[in-house]
């Protein structure tokens, strides 16, 4: 046991000594350019991989998303409407800004855990967890003032004269004054709702 620890230790020490020594044969130009090229490849690769996980295709490659939330989305106005403009999963569920996106992606690593251990591998399990999972999204959207909604729906461009009088009054009274944010009233617009007992604004 102590033998193997000392072996690993000596390996680490030798790696450090190699890394710490000035280059003997490689020119400074090669190292600089090589570092630059490698940086481009790694950074580009990282971002490409990140973008790949940021597509609807990737989301619905798992049956949990395809058979539950995605199939529910398809009848709603965010999937099927007169102009054919539609929202895909990451439009609403992943922030567009880089730092926020990375933060969300790190949170989402928990979802990989969920996938591996089958936390919502059946419809029944999913429905059981639905209140908790929806709650996470409501919390996120109230915390960032419904940022993902506002990526497309800006209050500034909202022509309330083109809205129904109900909507116009509500938006003037609550949205424009900042008293409420989108998600406060518009829950369950893209997916079915969980049991809403105890959620403020529902009964």
């Amino acid at each position: 046991m102590t033998n193997s620890i000392s072996k690993v230790w000596s390996l680490l020490v030798s790696i450090w000594q190699r890394a710490n020594r000035p280059a003997k044969y490689l020119s400074i130009g090669f190292l600089t350019l090589g570092g630059f090229v490698a940086g481009v490849i790694f950074w580009g690769g990282f971002n490409t991989a990140l973008e790949l996980t940021n597509t609807e295709e990737f989301c619905i490659s798992c049956h949990e998303m395809r058979d539950n939330v995605f199939s529910e989305l398809q009848s709603t106005i965010h999937y099927s409407n007169r102009s054919g403009v539609r929202a895909t999963c990451p439009d609403c569920h992943v922030p567009h800004n880089w730092t926020d996106k990375i933060a969300r992606k790190m949170q989402a690593s928990k979802e990989v855990y969920g996938k591996i251990f089958g936390t919502i591998s059946t419809r029944e399990k999913f429905l059981e967890q639905r209140r908790r999972l929806a709650g996470h999204e409501w919390e996120r959207l109230s915390a960032n003032d419904s940022l993902e909604c506002r990526n497309c729906h800006s209050a500034e461009s909202m022509d309330i004269t083109a809205q129904g009088s109900r909507a116009a009054t509500a938006h003037q009274q609550f949205l424009f004054t900042g008293e409420k944010t989108c998600i406060d009233c518009h829950k369950g617009i893209a997916h079915e709702l969980p049991d809403m007992t105890g959620v403020p604004g529902w009964k």
Binding site: G164, S165, R166, T169, E192, L193, P194, D195, G201, K203
Partner: protein
């Protein structure tokens, strides 16, 4: 001659009459088109979304919904209608409150919340579409009937 013979004779006759009737072109759901041709689907109407109360045709009529209710969920889990029309929400929403009759159970006992038998709003309340009626409607408003009666008595 047994009874089975008579029954089968009767059935044969019924089939024959039915066949003749069909051949004569009885109105059907296909709109008179023969089976090989696809009839044009009627245009889908638009939901009337004016937010204006409509006159009820008779006092007990459940009021029709004067706005679009697309994707409004009314299930065991959630009731989107109540998020505006429930008693506690009407202050914010300025929507008409669910009538007190909806708080009554079947013994007319008023409960504290909406009675479960009145929970599923769109069993009775429905939005309206801006379309022509499919068939002529001969409904007469009760006020008109009363007027006719009084003018008849004069």
């Amino acid at each position: 001659m047994n009874i089975k013979f008579f029954i089968s004779l009767f059935l044969c006759g019924a089939l024959l009459v039915g066949g003749i009737a069909l051949a004569d072109g009885v109105a059907n759901l296909r709109g008179g088109k023969d089976i090989g041709t696809e009839p044009d689907a009627p245009a889908v109407g638009k939901i009337e979304d004016k937010d204006l109360k409509r006159v009820r045709n008779y006092p007990e009529q459940p009021p029709t919904i004067p706005h679009d209710i697309r994707d409004y969920e009314v299930t065991k889990n959630a009731n989107k209608c109540l998020s505006c029309h429930s008693r506690s929400r009407t202050g914010e929403s300025q929507a008409p409150m669910v009538s007190v009759t909806h708080f009554m159970d079947r013994d007319y006992q008023v409960l504290a919340t909406i009675s479960p038998r009145r929970y599923f709003c769109n069993q009775c309340h429905v939005p309206q579409m801006d379309v022509k009626p499919l068939i002529e409607n001969t409904f007469v408003d009760v006020d008109e009937l009363l007027e006719q009666e009084t003018s008849g008595n004069d």
